[in-house]
Structures are given as structure tokens and as C-alpha cells.
């Protein structure tokens, strides 16, 4: 099986790379820094004896990331899985960002997944592959924090629906995970209202479900209940939760 992971150098992306390499996947890993990618690729080759390709790509400034990925895939076997655990958040994403920083957040969290999905669709349709998108619990209901990040993640839910509406399951499978708190650098030092989950645990579940049909899941599952409570909370009460 051949898998492409965008955002593979840290957090969930790195955990997915380790998990899929352990399952024998040939990998194309994409991230912004060549040195991180080279280190991960070397480690996976040594530990799992798998073929790993890398592509350093600055998604915040790359006009056509899909074309770059398509070019890299030309020398590889048919693509079976496209995983997009790519994301960037900022602690000052609370209506305090200038246009350049808003553009950077949108480029990484939304533009890159959209552009990559569209560029690689023909390959994935040919292999009846799977696209795995990663949303966030932050996108369940808009708040005064993570403003741009949450908007971009909610747009990914729209992309998930668009893909499923356009392509029947016999042609393409599309999976979306609404992620709760993960123990990554994104949450390091942040006081969280619920315990963070280890990325390796999430990666194991995502990898095991790659062969399943299209669906939308909360991970960890308990965040489904939390999302329900947040979504149905009366507005006057929700409005007071500004902390």
C-alpha cells in the first residue's frame, strides 16, 4: 500500500508515519523542513525496512502544493491513501491577527488540503483510494479563540461532504476525524479542560480504519459527547464561556 502524509514531521503526522511504516506501507512524507523529514525517513527505513520518500514543502508559501506532490508521486506506485494531518494554530488567533498571518493559517489549514485533494483526485479515483481529513473539536461551534483555525477546520467538513456528495463510495472513500486534544506541541503547556490523548494511539486507530468505508468519527470518542453538549448548549450560556 502507498500512502502520502502531509504534515508528517511532528505530532499526529509523525505518529501516522511510524504506524503506517510498521504496517509496511511505502510512504511519501511531506513537511516544511528537510532536516526533520530526512531524520524521520532514515529512522523508518532502518526500523521497518520500508521505502520512504520525502518532499520538503512550505505550505504557507507554496502556490500549487498539489502539483508538487503529483510530481513526486510520478515515480512511485499507485497512491492508495492520502492523509492530511496538517495544521497550524496560534495562541493569538483571537481577532488579533493581521492579514498576512490570517493568510498563513488559511494556507496551511485550508488551502493546502483543498489544493492537494483536487490535484490528486484522479490518482485516488483510479485506485479507489481513501482521503483522510482531520478536523477539530474547535470547529464544532465558533468561539472567540482559534477564530481562523476553527473556520478553516469547519471548511474541511464542507470539503468532506462535497467529496462524498460528488463521488460514490465505489469510486472514492473519504474519512474525516474530528480530533479532540492530542498530546502534541500544539497543546504543550496549555491548560486543557480534558486530558490529551497520545498521537500514537490515534494513529493506530486511523491506520486500522484505512480500509473501511467513508465515515466521520470523533477521536477520542468521548469528544463526541462533548461536541454534542457544546452544540446544544443554550446561546446565553455558551456566550458566557469566554475563558
Amino acid at each position: 500500500m502507498t500512502s502520502l502524509i502531509v504534515g508528517a514531521s511532528s505530532g499526529l503526522g509523525r505518529a501516522l508515519a511510524q504506524e503506517l511504516a510498521g504496517r509496511g506501507h511505502e510512504l511519501l512524507l511531506v513537511s516544511s523542513d528537510a532536516r526533520d523529514l530526512d531524520a524521520i525517513a532514515a529512522d523508518l527505513r532502518l526500523r521497518h525496512d520500508v521505502t520512504v520518500h520525502v518532499l520538503a514543502l512550505d505550505l504557507a508559501h507554496e502556490a500549487d502544493p498539489g502539483a508538487r506532490l503529483a510530481g513526486a508521486l510520478d515515480t512511485m506506485p499507485a497512491l492508495d491513501a492520502l492523509l492530511l494531518p496538517v495544521g497550524l494554530s496560534r495562541s493569538d488567533d483571537d481577532f488579533g491577527l493581521d492579514a498576512a498571518r490570517i493568510g498563513q493559517l488559511l494556507a496551511i489549514n485550508l488551502h493546502a488540503p483543498l489544493a492537494i485533494v483536487q490535484a490528486l483526485l484522479p490518482r485516488l479515483l483510479a485506485s479507489r483510494g481513501v482521503i483522510v481529513l482531520f478536523g477539530s473539536i474547535a470547529a464544532v461551534r465558533g468561539r472567540g479563540r482559534n477564530v481562523v483555525y476553527a473556520a478553516a477546520k469547519r471548511a474541511l467538513e464542507s470539503l468532506h461532504e462535497s467529496l462524498r456528495q460528488r463521488y460514490p463510495p465505489q469510486q472514492l472513500r473519504v474519512q474525516l476525524y474530528r480530533l479532540g486534544f492530542l498530546a502534541t506541541n500544539l497543546t504543550h503547556g496549555v491548560a486543557l479542560p480534558a486530558p490529551a490523548t497520545e498521537p500514537a494511539l490515534v494513529a493506530r486507530i486511523v491506520a486500522a480504519r484505512l480500509t473501511r468505508e467513508s465515515a466521520r468519527w470523533y477521536l477520542p470518542r468521548r469528544f463526541g459527547l462533548i461536541a454534542l453538549l457544546v452544540r446544544w448548549m443554550p446561546w446565553p450560556l455558551y456566550r458566557r464561556m469566554r475563558g
Binding site: S9, S10, A42, D43, R90, S91, N185, G189
Partner: protein, 442 residues
Amino acid sequence: MRGYALADVPLESFDRQYRARCRVQRPDRYRLLDALPADAPSIARGGGVSYVGASFGNGAISQDLGAFDRLLAFDPQRGTLTVEAGARIGDVQRFLLARGWYLPVAPGHPRASIGGCIAADVHGKNPARDGTFRAWVEAFELHRAGEGFVQVDRARDAGLFDASFAGFGLTGSITRATLRLARPPSALVLRRVPVADLAEAARILREAANAPVLYGWHDARAAHFGRGVVRIGLASDPVASLPAGGDAGSDLPASIRALPFALWNRLGIGAANTWLATRWCRAGQAPLPLSDALFPLNRARLYFAGYGQAGMVEAQWLVPHPRFEAFAHALSECVARMRPRIALLASKLFAGTPDGFSFDGKGIALALQLPHPASTAQRAFLEALAEIAIAHDGRPNLIKESTLDPHAVRRALGGFEAARMRLAHHNPAGRRTSELARRLAL
């Protein structure tokens, strides 16, 4: 911003003698190593299992390098491995053993990082045969805030190379290293040689200097002081061996939850010594799994938990051969007089040359682990031990004993000031700092 995030975390030395709330950065990408301001006091943190506070301290940001744990290059022809410095020694050994190689020098705790092994210049199961960790490092890379990455080897910068071993992370954050490997014994058999006292143990240790595994265990109670066994691990017929075994899940945790009570009171120490004397102090031999030989602490979880909330302290002194017998005699008298509680007494043979703050030399090292180090009687014994050791030209292991008095260290290490100056040369503004560095004014 990502990577600059600092968590306020309570940290504790492995011996429980030093605790502090520290700011911890956890970079997971190379560029985030540069995220901290260059003038911020900081120190690298690997496995976080040093007995003393070497990877954290009041006011210093601990830069946790746990994410930098990748294997980078393995040359099975030459026998070299390049690895990131956050890699755990247990993981590295498992990878190598599966491919017919190993690192002969490994500390007892499998979660120690490669960077930590360099920074502490650790010793292994027979330092007389294998030297200390520095003997197995070809090159390494340092990162310094504001300066970037520096490649270091004996040819390129011998001064910085040497200073970084037992440099306690003060010359910079070690980010990767190229290690020399050796072929492991195809199998091990553990021979037990009972000894009546420390002097006899020293003779047996010297005679078995070339064994892959070599150490003595001794009863430290006044009535039986020094009685014990020298354990000699010898290469043997593979049929006699047990598989290496083990995985990361069976490794001793970095932090061990203490029992709510102290197991190692006089009664507990007495019972344990009697049991070990019955079990070990008989001549004979038995197959020894290599994993047990390399990481004996994996079986010591209850032992460490048994020190309770008060924790323990380990004192290690290396005494030159000509002075060892007199040292052992003086120590025996001191124990008879002061009757300290000593949970463990072990001996090892060394045959190297000390450099800087490294724990090396030609002699016999004794390691003593004591419960309740803060109690008046225990503290008095530790001070007496230091005086006896210094009087017999003993050399302390700075990375082990968290209660060592800085004045005693200066008296014990003749070259203390030169070693300190050498470190200061590579840390001129003192921005890399830790509790160990503060306590000993390094």
C-alpha cells in the same frame, strides 16, 4: 507560537532529593531548538533519569529532547550507528542486538538518553574492559542557542569533544551522535564467586578484568560488612544462554511511584541482605539473559519504590588500587561505629584515565545507596564517607550523589578548577545551567 510553548512542570531527580517547578520546552522539530531566546538560561533534558538534578534547575528552561529519538544511519560493516541524542539507550540496544551489534557501555536505566550518556560519561557493566561512554563515541553534534549546530569530533575540536563528556550538558545541547559498536557475546553465563570482604572482592575483580560483565554485591551491615559475591558474566556456549528479550514496555519507568512507607528500614535491609546472601553468595554459575545483564534496573522497580517518599542517595567513590584495602578497612570501622542504613553496596573495577569531571581512574569503585539521606545520622555518615574517601585519594561521581558538598568535591578532585574553567570556556555567559551546576558552582 508553536515550539516556544513552555509548560510549568514539577520535576524531580531520580533519587527524590531535589524537586523544582520548571519551565519545559518540548521542541519536536529542528528549527524549534532555536525558538528560545539566546539569553534564556536553559539546559537540555533527555530521559530525565539522572540521580541528581542535571537536566533541570530553578530558573532554567529545560529543553526536552525526547522527540529527537530517531536512528539516522547504521553501518553494519563498520559497526557504527548515528542516532539523535534523545534516543533511549534501551531502544538503541534492542535495535542493535537484533542486528548482531551492541553498545558495550550502557547505564543501568534503559530510559537514559544517548545525549545523557555523553553528558554524564556513564560507565557500564565492566568499565575496566570497556572504558566509559566516551570510548564509544566517534563524533557528535551540539546545538547552542544563537550559534546553531556545531559538529564535534576528536580531530575537529578535541577540547570541546573532551569537555562535553562529563560536561553535564553545559557545553551545549547534544543533538546527535555517531557511536562505535561491538559484537555482543553470543551468550552469557554468570559465575558467582563468594567473598568474605571488600579486599577479597578487589582481588577477584582484578583477576576477572576482561569479563563482559563484572561487579560485586556486598552486605553493608556492620556485622557482615563487605561479605558478598563477585558476579562475573562470561561469554559462553549459546546453548547455555537465554534470549535477550524485553521491549520498551518492560523498561523501568523514568519516574517510579514511591511506596507510602519506607521498605528499607533496618528490618527490611536485614531481610533483603539475608535473602540475597542465601540466593547469591554460593559459588556456581547460571545462564544470564543479555537484557538482564545490560539493564539490571528493569527488575528493581520495587527496590526503588521501597525508598518511599524520602527517597535515597547514591554515593560513588573510586579509590586507587594501592589505597583501596586501607579505604575498605576504614570504611568498615566507620560503619561499625556509626551504623548507617545502607540498602546497597556494590563494587566495580576501573582502569581508565580521569579527565575533567569524569568518573574514571585505576582502582575500585564502591557505590552505596542509602535511604533517608536527609536524616542527621545518614547525613553524618555520608560526610564521614567523603572524608575517608578523600583521605584515600578517592574520586567522587558527581552525576550520582546529590548531597555532595561542593567543598568536598573541590578537595577530592585535584583538577577541579581546571575542569571548571574548561567548561566555562564553552559556556562563557553561564546560560546553560542546572541544579547540579548551581550546587557545585560549575
